[in-house]
Protein backbone atom coordinates (compact mmCIF):
# COMPACT_ATOMS: atom_id res chain seq x y z
CA UNK A 1 0.00 0.00 0.00
CA UNK A 2 1.36 3.41 -0.93
CA UNK A 3 1.14 6.02 1.76
CA UNK A 4 0.15 9.38 0.34
CA UNK A 5 0.26 11.47 3.51
CA UNK A 6 2.08 11.14 6.79
CA UNK A 7 2.58 13.55 9.59
CA UNK A 8 5.93 15.26 9.34
CA UNK A 9 8.71 14.33 11.73
CA UNK A 10 9.47 18.06 11.90
CA UNK A 11 6.56 18.47 14.34
CA UNK A 12 5.99 16.87 17.74
CA UNK A 13 2.84 14.95 18.71
CA UNK A 14 1.71 17.72 21.01
CA UNK A 15 -1.74 19.04 19.96
CA UNK A 16 -1.67 22.68 18.84
CA UNK A 17 -3.17 25.16 21.28
CA UNK A 18 -4.38 27.44 18.48
CA UNK A 19 -8.06 28.41 18.13
CA UNK A 20 -10.27 26.65 15.55
CA UNK A 21 -9.78 28.29 12.16
CA UNK A 22 -6.41 29.83 13.08
CA UNK A 23 -3.85 29.36 10.31
CA UNK A 24 -0.80 29.39 12.61
CA UNK A 25 -1.13 25.58 12.54
CA UNK A 26 -0.92 25.33 8.74
CA UNK A 27 2.19 27.50 8.76
CA UNK A 28 3.73 25.27 11.45
CA UNK A 29 3.10 22.23 9.30
CA UNK A 30 4.82 23.79 6.29
CA UNK A 31 7.88 24.62 8.37
CA UNK A 32 7.91 21.17 9.96
CA UNK A 33 7.71 19.52 6.54
CA UNK A 34 10.54 21.63 5.17
CA UNK A 35 12.77 20.95 8.18
CA UNK A 36 12.21 17.27 7.47
CA UNK A 37 12.46 17.40 3.66
CA UNK A 38 15.57 19.56 3.69
CA UNK A 39 17.12 17.35 6.37
CA UNK A 40 17.44 20.26 8.76
CA UNK A 41 15.83 19.08 12.00
CA UNK A 42 19.08 18.23 13.82
CA UNK A 43 20.86 21.19 12.33
CA UNK A 44 18.38 23.89 13.22
CA UNK A 45 18.05 26.45 15.99
CA UNK A 46 14.58 28.02 15.95
CA UNK A 47 13.62 31.15 17.83
CA UNK A 48 10.10 31.51 19.25
CA UNK A 49 8.53 34.94 19.73
CA UNK A 50 6.09 36.24 22.32
CA UNK A 51 2.61 36.12 20.88
CA UNK A 52 0.13 33.36 20.10
CA UNK A 53 3.00 31.34 18.61
CA UNK A 54 5.10 31.91 21.71
CA UNK A 55 4.85 28.24 22.63
CA UNK A 56 5.89 26.93 19.23
CA UNK A 57 9.04 25.44 20.73
CA UNK A 58 6.75 22.65 21.91
CA UNK A 59 5.84 21.81 18.31
CA UNK A 60 9.01 22.09 16.24
CA UNK A 61 11.29 19.10 16.68
CA UNK A 62 14.47 21.18 16.42
CA UNK A 63 16.27 22.98 19.25
CA UNK A 64 14.40 26.15 20.16
CA UNK A 65 15.12 29.35 22.07
CA UNK A 66 12.30 31.48 23.51
CA UNK A 67 12.91 35.19 22.96
CA UNK A 68 11.37 38.25 24.61
CA UNK A 69 8.61 40.11 22.75
CA UNK A 70 10.17 41.64 19.64
CA UNK A 71 13.67 40.30 20.16
CA UNK A 72 13.58 37.06 18.18
CA UNK A 73 15.73 38.44 15.38
CA UNK A 74 18.39 39.70 17.80
CA UNK A 75 18.40 36.31 19.55
CA UNK A 76 18.67 34.55 16.18
CA UNK A 77 21.54 36.86 15.20
CA UNK A 78 23.36 35.99 18.41
CA UNK A 79 22.82 32.28 17.84
CA UNK A 80 23.75 32.31 14.15
CA UNK A 81 26.96 34.27 14.73
CA UNK A 82 27.82 31.78 17.44
CA UNK A 83 27.04 28.78 15.21
CA UNK A 84 27.26 29.85 11.56
CA UNK A 85 27.00 26.18 10.57
CA UNK A 86 23.44 25.95 11.92
CA UNK A 87 20.18 26.80 10.19
CA UNK A 88 18.51 29.55 12.23
CA UNK A 89 14.96 30.82 11.84
CA UNK A 90 12.58 33.09 13.72
CA UNK A 91 8.82 32.64 13.86
CA UNK A 92 7.10 35.93 14.70
CA UNK A 93 3.76 37.69 14.73
CA UNK A 94 3.26 41.08 13.14
CA UNK A 95 3.38 42.88 16.47
CA UNK A 96 6.60 41.09 17.33
CA UNK A 97 8.35 41.73 14.02
CA UNK A 98 6.83 45.00 12.77
CA UNK A 99 6.19 46.99 15.95
CA UNK A 100 8.21 46.29 19.09
CA UNK A 101 10.88 44.44 17.09
CA UNK A 102 10.91 46.61 13.98
CA UNK A 103 14.41 47.93 14.68
CA UNK A 104 15.71 44.39 15.03
CA UNK A 105 14.07 43.27 11.77
CA UNK A 106 15.36 46.23 9.76
CA UNK A 107 18.85 46.06 11.25
CA UNK A 108 19.21 42.32 10.67
CA UNK A 109 18.09 42.87 7.08
CA UNK A 110 20.62 45.70 6.69
CA UNK A 111 23.38 43.47 7.98
CA UNK A 112 22.26 40.67 5.72
CA UNK A 113 22.11 38.26 8.65
CA UNK A 114 22.10 34.69 7.40
CA UNK A 115 18.84 33.90 9.11
CA UNK A 116 15.24 33.39 7.97
CA UNK A 117 12.27 35.22 9.49
CA UNK A 118 8.76 33.85 9.15
CA UNK A 119 6.42 36.73 9.77
CA UNK A 120 2.80 35.82 10.47
CA UNK A 121 0.56 38.79 9.74
CA UNK A 122 -2.96 38.59 11.17
CA UNK A 123 -3.58 42.35 11.41
CA UNK A 124 -4.07 42.11 15.17
CA UNK A 125 -2.50 41.29 18.52
CA UNK A 126 -3.85 37.78 19.02
CA UNK A 127 -2.14 36.77 22.24
CA UNK A 128 -3.19 39.77 24.26
CA UNK A 129 -6.79 39.64 23.13
CA UNK A 130 -7.24 41.68 19.97
CA UNK A 131 -5.52 45.04 20.21
CA UNK A 132 -4.47 47.16 17.27
CA UNK A 133 -1.36 45.95 15.44
CA UNK A 134 1.03 47.87 13.17
CA UNK A 135 -0.67 45.96 10.36
CA UNK A 136 -4.28 46.66 11.37
CA UNK A 137 -6.32 48.00 8.47
CA UNK A 138 -7.68 51.52 8.29
CA UNK A 139 -11.15 51.35 9.82
CA UNK A 140 -10.47 48.02 11.54
CA UNK A 141 -12.11 47.78 14.94
CA UNK A 142 -9.93 46.33 17.67
CA UNK A 143 -10.06 46.63 21.46
CA UNK A 144 -7.68 49.60 21.32
CA UNK A 145 -9.23 51.11 18.18
CA UNK A 146 -12.87 50.60 19.21
CA UNK A 147 -14.12 53.15 16.66
CA UNK A 148 -11.93 51.72 13.93
CA UNK A 149 -8.32 52.56 13.05
CA UNK A 150 -8.33 56.23 12.16
CA UNK A 151 -5.58 56.93 9.65
CA UNK A 152 -5.21 60.55 10.76
CA UNK A 153 -4.36 59.68 14.35
CA UNK A 154 -3.29 56.01 14.24
CA UNK A 155 -1.62 55.82 10.87
CA UNK A 156 -1.66 53.17 8.19
CA UNK A 157 -0.91 49.45 8.12
CA UNK A 158 2.77 48.77 7.61
CA UNK A 159 3.56 46.66 4.56
CA UNK A 160 6.79 45.32 6.00
CA UNK A 161 7.84 42.94 3.19
CA UNK A 162 7.52 45.76 0.69
CA UNK A 163 9.73 47.97 2.84
CA UNK A 164 12.30 45.22 3.22
CA UNK A 165 12.76 44.90 -0.54
CA UNK A 166 14.53 48.25 -0.38
CA UNK A 167 17.23 46.87 1.87
CA UNK A 168 20.31 45.45 0.17
CA UNK A 169 20.97 42.74 2.76
CA UNK A 170 17.46 41.30 2.51
CA UNK A 171 18.05 39.02 -0.45
CA UNK A 172 14.86 37.03 -0.48
CA UNK A 173 11.51 38.61 0.41
CA UNK A 174 8.16 36.95 -0.20
CA UNK A 175 4.63 37.79 0.84
CA UNK A 176 2.26 34.84 0.72
CA UNK A 177 -0.94 33.49 2.21
CA UNK A 178 -2.37 30.15 3.32
CA UNK A 179 -6.06 30.72 2.56
CA UNK A 180 -6.44 28.10 -0.23
CA UNK A 181 -4.70 24.81 -1.09
CA UNK A 182 -3.00 26.58 -3.98
CA UNK A 183 -1.84 29.41 -1.73
CA UNK A 184 -0.48 26.88 0.76
CA UNK A 185 1.60 25.32 -2.02
CA UNK A 186 2.92 28.74 -3.01
CA UNK A 187 3.70 29.54 0.61
CA UNK A 188 5.68 26.33 0.97
CA UNK A 189 7.61 27.11 -2.19
CA UNK A 190 8.50 30.55 -0.84
CA UNK A 191 9.57 29.11 2.51
CA UNK A 192 11.73 26.50 0.76
CA UNK A 193 13.47 29.23 -1.23
CA UNK A 194 13.96 31.34 1.88
CA UNK A 195 15.52 28.37 3.67
CA UNK A 196 17.75 27.64 0.67
CA UNK A 197 18.91 31.27 0.53
CA UNK A 198 20.14 30.92 4.09
CA UNK A 199 21.81 27.60 3.39
CA UNK A 200 23.58 29.18 0.43
CA UNK A 201 24.78 31.97 2.75
CA UNK A 202 23.31 34.72 0.58
CA UNK A 203 21.79 36.98 3.24
CA UNK A 204 18.58 37.69 5.12
CA UNK A 205 15.45 35.91 3.95
CA UNK A 206 11.97 36.95 4.99
CA UNK A 207 8.60 35.37 4.32
CA UNK A 208 5.45 37.21 5.34
CA UNK A 209 2.36 35.03 5.58
CA UNK A 210 -1.16 36.44 5.81
CA UNK A 211 -2.92 34.53 8.57
CA UNK A 212 -6.33 34.41 10.21
CA UNK A 213 -7.43 35.30 13.72
CA UNK A 214 -11.15 34.42 13.83
CA UNK A 215 -11.19 34.77 17.61
CA UNK A 216 -10.11 38.39 17.73
CA UNK A 217 -11.62 39.43 14.44
CA UNK A 218 -14.92 38.23 15.91
CA UNK A 219 -15.87 36.02 12.97
CA UNK A 220 -16.30 32.31 12.22
CA UNK A 221 -13.39 30.33 10.73
CA UNK A 222 -15.05 30.42 7.28
CA UNK A 223 -15.74 34.14 7.50
CA UNK A 224 -12.14 34.63 8.59
CA UNK A 225 -10.86 33.24 5.30
CA UNK A 226 -13.19 35.58 3.42
CA UNK A 227 -12.05 38.51 5.57
CA UNK A 228 -8.44 37.67 4.76
CA UNK A 229 -9.20 37.46 1.05
CA UNK A 230 -11.38 40.53 0.69
CA UNK A 231 -10.03 42.87 3.37
CA UNK A 232 -6.39 41.97 3.98
CA UNK A 233 -5.14 41.06 0.53
CA UNK A 234 -5.82 44.47 -1.09
CA UNK A 235 -3.72 46.12 1.64
CA UNK A 236 -0.53 44.09 1.34
CA UNK A 237 1.80 43.54 -1.61
CA UNK A 238 1.75 39.84 -2.44
CA UNK A 239 4.11 37.55 -4.32
CA UNK A 240 7.80 36.85 -4.46
CA UNK A 241 8.93 40.43 -3.97
CA UNK A 242 12.68 39.99 -4.16
CA UNK A 243 14.87 37.09 -5.24
CA UNK A 244 18.66 36.75 -5.11
CA UNK A 245 20.70 38.27 -7.92
CA UNK A 246 21.67 34.77 -9.09
CA UNK A 247 18.03 34.26 -9.95
CA UNK A 248 17.84 37.40 -12.02
CA UNK A 249 17.80 39.98 -9.27
CA UNK A 250 15.01 41.91 -7.73
CA UNK A 251 11.55 41.52 -9.11
CA UNK A 252 10.36 44.50 -7.12
Amino acid sequence: MKSIFTKTTGLSDRPFHYCPGCTHGIIHRLIGELLEEMNLIENTIGVAPVGCSGFCENYFMCDMIGAAHGRAVAVATGAKRARPDRFVFTYQGDGDGASIGLAETMSAAARGERITSIFVNNCIYGMTGGQMAPTSLVGQKTSTSPYGRDAMTMGYPLDLPKVLTQIEGAVYVASVSVDTPQAIKEAKKALRKAFQVQRDGLGYSFVSILSTCPTNWGVTPVEALEWLQTKMKPNFTLGELKVPATEGGSEA
Binding site: I41, E42, D63, A68, T77, G78, A82, R83
Partner: protein, 353 residues
Protein backbone atom coordinates in the same frame (compact mmCIF):
# COMPACT_ATOMS: atom_id res chain seq x y z
CA UNK B 1 55.75 40.50 32.28
CA UNK B 2 53.60 43.44 33.21
CA UNK B 3 51.84 45.45 30.49
CA UNK B 4 50.54 48.97 30.83
CA UNK B 5 46.85 48.81 29.90
CA UNK B 6 43.63 50.78 30.17
CA UNK B 7 41.05 49.11 32.40
CA UNK B 8 38.55 48.66 29.58
CA UNK B 9 41.13 47.09 27.30
CA UNK B 10 42.36 44.83 30.07
CA UNK B 11 38.83 43.53 30.60
CA UNK B 12 38.46 42.84 26.88
CA UNK B 13 41.79 41.02 26.70
CA UNK B 14 41.00 38.98 29.81
CA UNK B 15 37.67 37.96 28.28
CA UNK B 16 39.35 36.72 25.11
CA UNK B 17 41.84 34.79 27.21
CA UNK B 18 38.92 33.28 29.13
CA UNK B 19 37.60 31.84 25.88
CA UNK B 20 35.01 34.48 25.06
CA UNK B 21 34.66 34.41 21.29
CA UNK B 22 31.53 36.51 20.84
CA UNK B 23 31.03 40.14 21.70
CA UNK B 24 27.90 42.12 20.89
CA UNK B 25 27.82 45.79 21.83
CA UNK B 26 26.90 49.36 21.11
CA UNK B 27 29.38 52.21 21.68
CA UNK B 28 28.99 54.45 24.73
CA UNK B 29 31.47 56.51 26.72
CA UNK B 30 33.22 55.56 29.00
CA UNK B 31 33.13 51.89 27.94
CA UNK B 32 33.78 52.22 24.21
CA UNK B 33 37.34 50.87 24.40
CA UNK B 34 35.82 47.46 25.16
CA UNK B 35 33.97 47.10 21.80
CA UNK B 36 36.89 48.79 20.04
CA UNK B 37 39.36 46.31 21.47
CA UNK B 38 37.08 43.42 20.60
CA UNK B 39 36.59 44.72 17.06
CA UNK B 40 40.36 44.73 16.65
CA UNK B 41 41.28 41.48 18.38
CA UNK B 42 38.42 39.01 17.86
CA UNK B 43 39.33 38.39 14.25
CA UNK B 44 42.77 37.02 15.07
CA UNK B 45 41.34 34.43 17.47
CA UNK B 46 38.54 33.40 15.12
CA UNK B 47 35.91 35.14 17.22
CA UNK B 48 33.11 37.53 16.36
CA UNK B 49 32.62 41.16 17.20
CA UNK B 50 29.28 42.53 16.09
CA UNK B 51 28.04 46.07 16.52
CA UNK B 52 24.39 45.79 17.49
CA UNK B 53 21.79 48.40 16.53
CA UNK B 54 21.13 49.17 20.20
CA UNK B 55 21.82 47.87 23.67
CA UNK B 56 18.40 46.23 23.57
CA UNK B 57 19.47 44.19 20.56
CA UNK B 58 22.95 43.63 22.01
CA UNK B 59 21.68 41.98 25.18
CA UNK B 60 19.40 39.66 23.18
CA UNK B 61 22.25 38.75 20.84
CA UNK B 62 24.11 37.81 24.01
CA UNK B 63 21.02 35.80 24.98
CA UNK B 64 21.06 33.95 21.65
CA UNK B 65 24.77 33.12 21.74
CA UNK B 66 24.61 32.12 25.40
CA UNK B 67 21.59 29.90 24.74
CA UNK B 68 23.64 28.09 22.10
CA UNK B 69 26.26 27.45 24.78
CA UNK B 70 29.08 29.76 23.74
CA UNK B 71 31.04 32.15 25.97
CA UNK B 72 29.71 35.61 25.24
CA UNK B 73 30.03 39.12 26.61
CA UNK B 74 28.78 42.66 26.19
CA UNK B 75 30.04 45.91 27.65
CA UNK B 76 28.22 49.18 28.14
CA UNK B 77 27.74 52.21 30.38
CA UNK B 78 24.79 53.27 32.49
CA UNK B 79 22.18 54.47 29.92
CA UNK B 80 22.97 51.41 27.81
CA UNK B 81 22.83 49.24 30.91
CA UNK B 82 19.35 50.63 31.61
CA UNK B 83 18.24 49.52 28.15
CA UNK B 84 19.42 45.98 28.89
CA UNK B 85 17.36 45.44 32.03
CA UNK B 86 14.52 43.42 30.49
CA UNK B 87 17.14 41.21 28.89
CA UNK B 88 18.88 40.59 32.21
CA UNK B 89 15.65 39.30 33.68
CA UNK B 90 15.17 36.98 30.68
CA UNK B 91 18.79 35.79 30.84
CA UNK B 92 18.28 34.89 34.48
CA UNK B 93 15.05 33.00 33.91
CA UNK B 94 16.40 31.09 30.91
CA UNK B 95 19.57 30.43 32.97
CA UNK B 96 21.86 31.56 30.21
CA UNK B 97 25.45 32.14 31.30
CA UNK B 98 27.03 35.39 30.10
CA UNK B 99 29.20 38.28 31.25
CA UNK B 100 28.14 41.93 31.15
CA UNK B 101 30.38 44.90 31.87
CA UNK B 102 28.86 48.11 33.20
CA UNK B 103 31.32 51.00 33.22
CA UNK B 104 29.17 53.35 35.25
CA UNK B 105 28.79 56.98 34.31
CA UNK B 106 26.92 59.92 35.82
CA UNK B 107 23.16 59.88 35.87
CA UNK B 108 20.20 60.10 36.06
CA UNK B 109 19.25 60.89 32.49
CA UNK B 110 21.98 61.34 29.94
CA UNK B 111 23.95 62.54 32.94
CA UNK B 112 27.63 63.07 32.38
CA UNK B 113 30.70 61.15 31.37
CA UNK B 114 32.32 61.26 34.80
CA UNK B 115 32.62 58.26 37.11
CA UNK B 116 29.85 57.15 39.42
CA UNK B 117 28.64 54.13 41.37
CA UNK B 118 25.01 55.13 41.19
CA UNK B 119 23.95 51.98 39.30
CA UNK B 120 24.36 50.05 42.57
CA UNK B 121 20.63 49.59 43.15
CA UNK B 122 20.07 48.59 39.53
CA UNK B 123 22.99 46.15 39.69
CA UNK B 124 22.21 44.50 42.99
CA UNK B 125 18.47 44.80 43.51
CA UNK B 126 17.46 43.83 39.99
CA UNK B 127 16.86 46.61 37.49
CA UNK B 128 14.63 44.30 35.51
CA UNK B 129 11.40 42.60 36.58
CA UNK B 130 10.94 39.63 38.85
CA UNK B 131 12.94 38.02 41.64
CA UNK B 132 16.36 37.66 40.10
CA UNK B 133 19.98 38.45 40.80
CA UNK B 134 23.12 38.72 38.82
CA UNK B 135 26.44 37.92 40.45
CA UNK B 136 28.00 41.39 40.60
CA UNK B 137 31.76 41.80 40.84
CA UNK B 138 33.41 45.13 41.67
CA UNK B 139 37.15 45.28 41.02
CA UNK B 140 39.20 48.24 42.26
CA UNK B 141 42.31 48.01 40.10
CA UNK B 142 43.09 47.14 36.51
CA UNK B 143 44.76 43.91 37.67
CA UNK B 144 41.65 42.93 39.56
CA UNK B 145 39.58 43.71 36.46
CA UNK B 146 41.63 41.11 34.60
CA UNK B 147 41.45 38.49 37.33
CA UNK B 148 37.73 38.89 37.95
CA UNK B 149 36.85 38.94 34.25
CA UNK B 150 38.49 35.56 33.78
CA UNK B 151 36.69 34.20 36.78
CA UNK B 152 33.39 35.75 35.74
CA UNK B 153 33.04 33.38 32.79
CA UNK B 154 33.56 30.38 35.06
CA UNK B 155 31.07 31.68 37.62
CA UNK B 156 28.53 32.23 34.85
CA UNK B 157 28.95 28.73 33.46
CA UNK B 158 29.12 27.09 36.88
CA UNK B 159 25.88 28.60 38.16
CA UNK B 160 24.21 29.11 34.75
CA UNK B 161 23.72 32.71 35.81
CA UNK B 162 24.53 36.13 34.45
CA UNK B 163 27.59 37.82 35.92
CA UNK B 164 28.07 41.58 35.83
CA UNK B 165 31.38 43.34 36.34
CA UNK B 166 30.71 46.85 37.60
CA UNK B 167 33.37 49.53 37.49
CA UNK B 168 33.24 53.29 37.45
CA UNK B 169 34.51 55.42 34.60
CA UNK B 170 37.85 56.05 36.31
CA UNK B 171 38.72 52.34 36.47
CA UNK B 172 37.62 51.88 32.87
CA UNK B 173 39.83 54.67 31.63
CA UNK B 174 42.79 54.33 34.00
CA UNK B 175 46.09 52.84 32.86
CA UNK B 176 47.93 50.51 35.24
CA UNK B 177 50.46 47.73 34.89
CA UNK B 178 48.77 44.34 34.58
CA UNK B 179 49.76 40.74 34.21
CA UNK B 180 47.81 37.91 32.64
CA UNK B 181 48.84 34.89 34.68
CA UNK B 182 47.61 31.48 33.56
CA UNK B 183 44.19 30.79 35.00
CA UNK B 184 43.32 27.37 36.37
CA UNK B 185 39.55 27.68 36.29
CA UNK B 186 36.74 25.65 37.77
CA UNK B 187 35.73 22.19 36.75
CA UNK B 188 32.68 22.72 34.58
CA UNK B 189 30.02 20.37 33.29
CA UNK B 190 29.41 20.20 29.53
CA UNK B 191 26.47 22.37 28.47
CA UNK B 192 24.08 19.56 27.64
CA UNK B 193 21.15 21.96 28.04
CA UNK B 194 22.19 24.30 25.20
CA UNK B 195 20.06 24.82 22.10
CA UNK B 196 22.91 24.25 19.68
CA UNK B 197 21.24 21.89 17.23
CA UNK B 198 19.80 18.51 18.24
CA UNK B 199 22.43 16.37 16.54
CA UNK B 200 22.34 12.85 17.97
CA UNK B 201 20.22 13.80 20.98
CA UNK B 202 16.67 14.82 21.77
CA UNK B 203 15.80 18.46 21.32
CA UNK B 204 16.49 21.22 23.84
CA UNK B 205 14.37 24.28 24.57
CA UNK B 206 15.94 27.29 26.27
CA UNK B 207 12.98 29.34 27.45
CA UNK B 208 11.94 31.70 30.22
CA UNK B 209 8.27 31.14 30.78
CA UNK B 210 5.95 28.74 32.56
CA UNK B 211 2.32 28.33 31.66
CA UNK B 212 0.89 27.55 35.06
CA UNK B 213 1.37 29.31 38.39
CA UNK B 214 2.26 25.96 39.97
CA UNK B 215 5.26 25.55 37.67
CA UNK B 216 6.01 29.25 38.06
CA UNK B 217 6.29 28.93 41.80
CA UNK B 218 8.42 25.80 41.53
CA UNK B 219 10.81 27.47 39.11
CA UNK B 220 11.08 30.54 41.31
CA UNK B 221 11.84 28.33 44.31
CA UNK B 222 14.53 26.52 42.37
CA UNK B 223 16.11 29.83 41.36
CA UNK B 224 15.78 31.06 44.92
CA UNK B 225 17.69 28.01 46.13
CA UNK B 226 20.39 28.73 43.58
CA UNK B 227 20.60 32.34 44.85
CA UNK B 228 21.02 31.01 48.39
CA UNK B 229 23.81 28.70 47.22
CA UNK B 230 25.58 31.63 45.59
CA UNK B 231 25.08 33.75 48.72
CA UNK B 232 26.58 30.99 50.80
CA UNK B 233 29.63 30.33 48.59
CA UNK B 234 30.56 33.46 46.69
CA UNK B 235 30.69 36.39 49.11
CA UNK B 236 33.98 38.20 48.67
CA UNK B 237 35.63 41.15 50.35
CA UNK B 238 39.04 42.52 51.26
CA UNK B 239 39.92 44.18 54.54
CA UNK B 240 42.45 46.97 55.02
CA UNK B 241 43.79 47.68 58.52
CA UNK B 242 40.68 46.17 60.09
CA UNK B 243 42.32 44.00 62.76
CA UNK B 244 42.47 46.64 65.49
CA UNK B 245 39.97 49.05 63.96
CA UNK B 246 37.33 50.73 66.11
CA UNK B 247 35.63 52.41 63.18
CA UNK B 248 35.25 51.06 59.68
CA UNK B 249 34.61 52.43 56.23
CA UNK B 250 32.82 50.40 53.60
CA UNK B 251 33.69 51.26 50.00
CA UNK B 252 34.22 49.51 46.67
CA UNK B 253 35.94 50.30 43.37
CA UNK B 254 37.56 53.71 43.03
CA UNK B 255 36.01 54.85 46.33
CA UNK B 256 37.84 52.05 48.13
CA UNK B 257 41.15 53.33 46.81
CA UNK B 258 40.42 56.86 47.96
CA UNK B 259 39.28 55.49 51.32
CA UNK B 260 42.55 53.63 51.86
CA UNK B 261 44.23 57.03 51.91
CA UNK B 262 41.55 58.24 54.32
CA UNK B 263 42.29 55.32 56.64
CA UNK B 264 46.00 56.11 56.59
CA UNK B 265 45.36 59.79 57.32
CA UNK B 266 43.11 59.05 60.28
CA UNK B 267 45.54 56.47 61.62
CA UNK B 268 48.27 59.17 61.53
CA UNK B 269 46.04 61.10 63.92
CA UNK B 270 45.80 58.07 66.16
CA UNK B 271 42.25 57.09 65.24
CA UNK B 272 41.92 53.36 64.67
CA UNK B 273 39.96 52.96 61.47
CA UNK B 274 39.86 50.31 58.76
CA UNK B 275 38.30 49.66 55.38
CA UNK B 276 35.93 46.84 54.47
CA UNK B 277 35.88 46.53 50.67
CA UNK B 278 33.16 44.38 49.08
CA UNK B 279 34.34 42.64 45.91
CA UNK B 280 30.96 41.01 45.35
CA UNK B 281 28.24 43.64 45.42
CA UNK B 282 25.78 40.79 45.02
CA UNK B 283 25.92 38.69 47.02
CA UNK B 284 26.72 41.50 49.45
CA UNK B 285 29.51 40.16 51.71
CA UNK B 286 27.45 40.08 54.88
CA UNK B 287 29.45 37.37 56.57
CA UNK B 288 32.71 39.29 56.80
CA UNK B 289 30.94 42.40 57.92
CA UNK B 290 28.92 40.53 60.54
CA UNK B 291 32.11 39.07 61.94
CA UNK B 292 33.26 42.61 62.79
CA UNK B 293 30.00 43.82 64.30
CA UNK B 294 31.06 43.54 67.97
CA UNK B 295 34.38 45.22 67.27
CA UNK B 296 33.26 48.29 65.31
CA UNK B 297 31.82 51.36 67.09
CA UNK B 298 30.71 53.10 63.91
CA UNK B 299 30.51 52.38 60.18
CA UNK B 300 30.62 54.72 57.23
CA UNK B 301 29.81 53.98 53.60
CA UNK B 302 31.73 56.01 51.00
CA UNK B 303 30.15 55.99 47.54
CA UNK B 304 29.90 57.85 44.27
CA UNK B 305 26.14 58.15 44.68
CA UNK B 306 23.48 59.63 46.93
CA UNK B 307 23.89 56.61 49.18
CA UNK B 308 22.87 53.19 47.90
CA UNK B 309 25.20 50.52 49.30
CA UNK B 310 24.78 52.18 52.69
CA UNK B 311 21.35 50.51 52.86
CA UNK B 312 22.97 47.07 52.68
CA UNK B 313 25.49 48.06 55.35
CA UNK B 314 22.63 49.17 57.61
CA UNK B 315 20.80 45.88 57.04
CA UNK B 316 23.80 43.93 58.30
CA UNK B 317 24.70 46.30 61.12
CA UNK B 318 21.04 46.21 62.10
CA UNK B 319 21.12 49.14 64.51
CA UNK B 320 24.03 47.83 66.57
CA UNK B 321 26.20 50.84 65.68
CA UNK B 322 25.76 54.14 63.85
CA UNK B 323 26.18 54.00 60.08
CA UNK B 324 27.33 57.18 58.36
CA UNK B 325 27.50 58.02 54.70
CA UNK B 326 29.51 60.31 52.51
CA UNK B 327 29.26 60.51 48.74
CA UNK B 328 29.84 62.68 45.74
CA UNK B 329 27.63 62.61 42.66
CA UNK B 330 27.38 63.61 39.05
CA UNK B 331 30.86 62.44 38.09
CA UNK B 332 32.74 64.03 41.01
CA UNK B 333 35.00 62.06 43.36
CA UNK B 334 35.71 62.89 47.02
CA UNK B 335 39.03 64.27 48.24
CA UNK B 336 40.37 62.27 51.22
CA UNK B 337 40.20 65.43 53.38
CA UNK B 338 36.45 65.75 52.77
CA UNK B 339 35.93 62.15 53.87
CA UNK B 340 38.04 62.69 57.01
CA UNK B 341 35.94 65.73 57.88
CA UNK B 342 32.65 63.93 57.22
CA UNK B 343 33.79 60.98 59.31
CA UNK B 344 34.66 63.19 62.24
CA UNK B 345 31.41 65.11 62.01
CA UNK B 346 29.19 62.07 61.67
CA UNK B 347 30.91 59.43 63.80
CA UNK B 348 33.12 61.25 66.27
CA UNK B 349 30.73 64.15 66.76
CA UNK B 350 28.01 61.76 67.85
CA UNK B 351 25.78 62.22 64.80
CA UNK B 352 23.99 58.99 64.04
CA UNK B 353 23.72 57.77 60.45
Amino acid sequence: MALLMKGNEAIAEAAIQAGCRLFYGYPITPSTEIPEYMAKKMKAVGGTYLQAESEVAAIYMVYGAGAVGERVMTGTSSPGFSLMQEGLSFLFAAEIPCVIIDVMRGGPGLGGLGPTQADYFQLTKGGGHGDYHAIVLAPSSVQEMVDLTKEAFDLADYYRNLVIIAVDGILGQMMEPVEFPPYEGRKLEPKTWAASGAEGRSKNNVISYYLTPEIGEKENSRWGAKMLRIKESEQRFVEYRMDDAEYAFVAFGTCARITETVVDMLREEGINVGLYRPITLWPFPEKGLSARINQIKGWMSIELSAGQMVDDVKLVVNGKAPVGFYGRQGGMTPEPEEVVAAFKAQLLGGVQG
